[in-house]
Amino acid sequence: MLRYAVERLIQAIIAIFGVLTIVFVVMHLSGDPTLLLVPQDASAEMIAQLRSQLGFDRPIWVQYLEYLGGLAHFDFGISVVQRVPAFDIVVSRLPYTTMLAAGALVVAIGMGIPAGIVMATRRGGWLERLLTAIVVTGQSVPTFLSGIVLIFVFGVTLRWLPTSGSGDFASLIMPSIALGAISMSTFARMTRISIIDELGKDYVRAGRARGLSLGSVVFRHVLRNAAIPVITIAALEIGNLLAGAVIVETVFAWPGIGQLAIQSIQSRDFLVVQVIVLLISFVYVLTSVIADFVYALVDPRIRLVR
């Protein structure tokens, strides 16, 4: 187990290192990153001054090492617009996005897993067809469209819920549903497939032969075994939900890091955008490592194979 854990951690560190490098390359794609960090009407002198101040006139590999060195000290640079550390700006918005992602995960798991169970156990019935249609629909509606539809129906027409929000429970409902819809479909599909896989195995036939009902076989035995692939999906979905927050938060004017990312792009505050991309990618890598560890704890076979 220890060896497996160490190997997996090394993999994760390489992945994070790679992400840092890709973000560095993207930031330098335009040729001169100074131009990203100044207002559009900046004078040539001001640009030149900032360029040497930030070290963008030095060789690219020196800049790369400085960048990595800075990150190692949690130095993500100073926001050019707000004149405070970019990292602090992002952290101050983080609780809102965490709330939203948690709400969306509740929606996705709370609806997706039961739907998947029903679809796997009631095959061929009208209920399965209905749920399949709902799942494919959930996958095909972009989050901003479902967001706008929710706003129109429950915010503008019925006036039940606030159309934009700042943290209270009522304003969390609609963005959570909009953000969770696509994940809900993913959970339903994964749950369905992994239960169907399990249902074909001998222990299910043995249980049924001994007179257990399908329901009790599923709830007592199958769910536990089918849970493993679903755990991985849950981990990956956390990263996807954070990324999806960029759009949902813009639609609902939700003051999290997604809205901050778009605002920062508009005000050309690229160091803040960089922090957000790095942060979400870091969470993405971290959750997948945790998922693998949970996997290995739940299912000893995985530990032994490696």
Binding site: V19, M27, Q139, L145, I148, V156, I247, V273, I280, S281
Partner: protein, 287 residues
Amino acid sequence: MSTAVLALRQRLRRVPLSVIVVSIIFLVIVLLAIFAPWVAPADPNRQNLLGRLKPPGFEMRGITYWLGTDDLGRDLLSRTLYGAGVSLSVAVLSVVVSSLVGVTLGMIAGWFRGKIEILIMRLVDIMMSIPAILLAVLTVAVLGPGFLKLVLVLGLTRWPRYTRVAYAQTLQVANLPFIKASELAGAGAARILFHHILPNIAGPVLIVATAEFGLMILMEAGLSFLGLGIQPPASSWGSIMSVGRQYIERAWWIVAFPGVCLFLLVFSVNVLGDWLRDQLDPRSRSR
């Protein structure tokens, strides 16, 4: 009736009704997008400031605005029709770019093995740990928006899935006798990869491509909605809807019509993709 027609009817009978329906929807949208310049009743960019935010069926100076007008009095029907072409061509081109890059890298990794395999597959792992929409948002923000840049950004952020599939398939195919025979006969790597391996891994790649096609439509719409995609005066469904979002209380139709089209397009692509997967991958049919 000739035997060929009978055989065709036999095959069609096995196609589920839902697949036939979504195929028709998909074809209609594609045809409308291609023939937009002839079908559209008006110039999509012609403004009519006296007829701003008018509801569907509004008539003015002998012109009927069947789907209403937007915030600048432009004909929403024409804009939606032209927008279809933009959305579809971005999606098609970026799927072409990403599949070319991804499949080539995957076949190289699977055929040559060794260091290049480690390098490519590590890069795949890394690319897959940055959520694609974020990488696309950052890259478009750095490079600036535009049709061609959008295609390149989408194409170059979404290739790793093809690489994984092409790699795994190439590993399986590479040891088959006819590949070995071709190699012994002196065929070069390029010939083996593109003439012998590619046709044999095309099925799984096609499954990935259809799923990605739906995703690309959604990503283009999302980026344009955020103002990072197609720039005015050109319009895609995403950018029309981002305007409509601001006027949702007074003019629901601006969001509704492009939104319904977007949904129908992605829905039909997803249903077709699922069906195609079941046809090409018999193992999943029982599921």
